[in-house]
């Protein structure tokens, strides 16, 4: 129960960060993908099930707030969460390389999938243009922010399991 509430708050904070706060610090027109960092962190620390649910909810929130067709974001986030969740088997609280590498790969996968799901279907070929202008800056920015955000999520996760989160199984 505690875990569910903490995750919901994390989703909400990440959403606000991504849409409002980071728009003041946008570099070359991109904002870091805080929600992806959250999804990857949860996948690495908590496994597939939790990550899939977190990805679904946060993607839904993003899509609802951005207007248009709802459902693509949660789908991609869930896919990323499912794949990243396999890394939970080698989870080690002292390892910072694996989660950040996963953030990197996850953001690339997310961006390319998003491009395929929207722009390619609109007939806008030219992946390399989008690669150079949107995807690469976004991946790099997300990676940098992830370096700082992952330890925070890790700390929260430790606190949850410390305050009896072990007994509850979300």
């Amino acid at each position: 129960m505690i875990r569910a509430i903490v995750y919901l708050i994390e989703i909400f904070v990440c959403f606000i960060l991504q849409t409002s706060v980071f728009s003041y610090f946008s570099l070359s027109g991109v904002v870091p993908d805080c929600i992806l960092i959250l999804v990857i962190s949860v996948a690495y620390m908590g496994g597939q099930n939790k990550a899939i649910i977190v990805g679904f909810l946060s993607g839904l929130l993003l899509d609802i707030m951005s207007g248009g067709i709802i459902g693509l974001c949660p789908l991609i986030y869930m896919g990323v969460a499912y794949l990243a969740g396999y890394s939970n088997k080698v989870f080690d609280a002292h390892d910072y390389i694996i989660p950040n590498a996963l953030v990197f790969v996850g953001e690339v996968v997310y961006s390319v999938a998003y491009y395929c799901g929207t722009f390619l279907l609109m007939g806008k070929t030219g992946l390399f243009g989008y690669m150079a202008n949107t995807i690469i800056p976004r991946v790099i920015y997300t990676l940098i922010v992830g370096l700082f955000m992952y330890p925070l999520f890790l700390l929260l996760e430790k606190l949850i399991s410390f305050t009896g989160g072990v007994a509850d199984d979300n």
Binding site: Q48, I52, G68, L75, Y130
Partner: protein
């Protein structure tokens, strides 16, 4: 004895619980939620009205926070800018003073022209073309939440009389169109968005063209493509492009930008060009929503 049995039963129950938990496989969760996603996608595409209450509820929670953060953020960035820009402002001030003198002289001449124009227009009964549209000022509180679309959220919604397909301007240039309305916020799709296309018109000649958004070329060169210009049209560089009369959602006469680099496109049937938007989309903060819809005008 009974205590021991109870304990054993409790342990068995705990075991059962654990076993049930383990039995939920990630691929089952994935499958169910994917199916749910598909359903939501279908519903939001086919019956957008059903999603409206959900949107309103979430909006009610998120909107105050976004507005608060926006308030703080604007204040902070303003105070930073105040120190940075002092030198620049001084320089700019001098330039502007020179410009004012220049412009006052020009405006006197223009005034004379305008009296003449008014008189002539009355003569031809051509009023109504340049009427001032009623506007509502709004502030941008969030933008492009997924980095791909050029859209942003304003702090005015259906409570303030905003409706879908209302035009949004900033300064005197076209910004975009309201694409989605909630109770207290609305979403604006910018004309530079890849999904957007506006029917434009060269203000001097009246030749029409299509202005489409393109994020890539905007990011590289600050321009967006213009296509479907008639081969017979004579277009000069830096000519104004305004919204044409045949546009179905945009109000005619609003400035879009300035055209340049006209060339014959690959089909050899029409000309194409690029356009510098009149609005600086990178530093957009406050915009005006025109509270007149194109449909009601006709």
């Amino acid at each position: 004895m009974s205590g021991k049995r109870r304990r054993r039963r409790a342990a068995r129950r705990r075991n059962d619980k654990e076993r049930i938990q383990i039995n939920i496989l990630p691929k089952h969760v994935m499958f169910v939620l994917c199916f749910l996603c598909g359903v939501i996608m279908f519903v939001s595409y086919r019956f957008p009205a059903y999603m409206q209450p959900v949107k309103n509820v979430i909006d009610m929670v998120v909107f105050p926070m976004q507005r608060g953060i926006n308030h703080i953020g604007t204040r902070i960035s303003d105070s930073f800018r105040r120190f940075e820009d002092l030198e620049d402002l001084r320089k700019e001030n001098e330039e502007l003073r020179a410009q004012i003198e220049d412009l006052t002289a020009k405006s006197q001449m223009t005034n004379q022209d305008r009296y003449e124009l008014d008189a002539l227009r009355k003569l031809y009964e051509l009023d109504g073309k340049y009427t001032d549209y009623p506007k509502v000022a709004a502030r941008i509180i969030a933008r492009e939440s997924n980095g791909w679309y050029r859209s942003f959220t304003l702090d005015k919604g259906s409570n303030d009389g905003i409706k879908k397909n209302m035009n949004v301007i900033a300064g005197n240039g076209l910004v975009g169109i309201v694409s989605d309305v909630r109770k207290s916020t609305c979403i604006v799709r910018a004309i530079i968005d890849d999904n957007s296309s506006v029917s434009g018109m060269f203000s001097s000649s009246g030749d029409t063209c299509i202005v489409t958004g393109n994020m890539n070329s905007l990011k590289n060169d600050g321009i967006i493509p213009v296509s479907m210009i008639s081969m017979n049209a004579s277009v000069i560089n830096n000519e104004e492009v305004v919204v044409s009369h045949i546009s179905d959602r945009y109000l005619p006469g609003i400035l879009i930008g300035y055209v340049k680099d006209v060339y014959v496109d690959s089909s050899n049937m029409t000309k194409a060009a690029v356009l510098v938007p009149a609005v600086d989309f990178e530093h957009l903060d406050e915009v005006l929503v025109i509270t007149v819809l194109k449909e009601t005008e006709e």
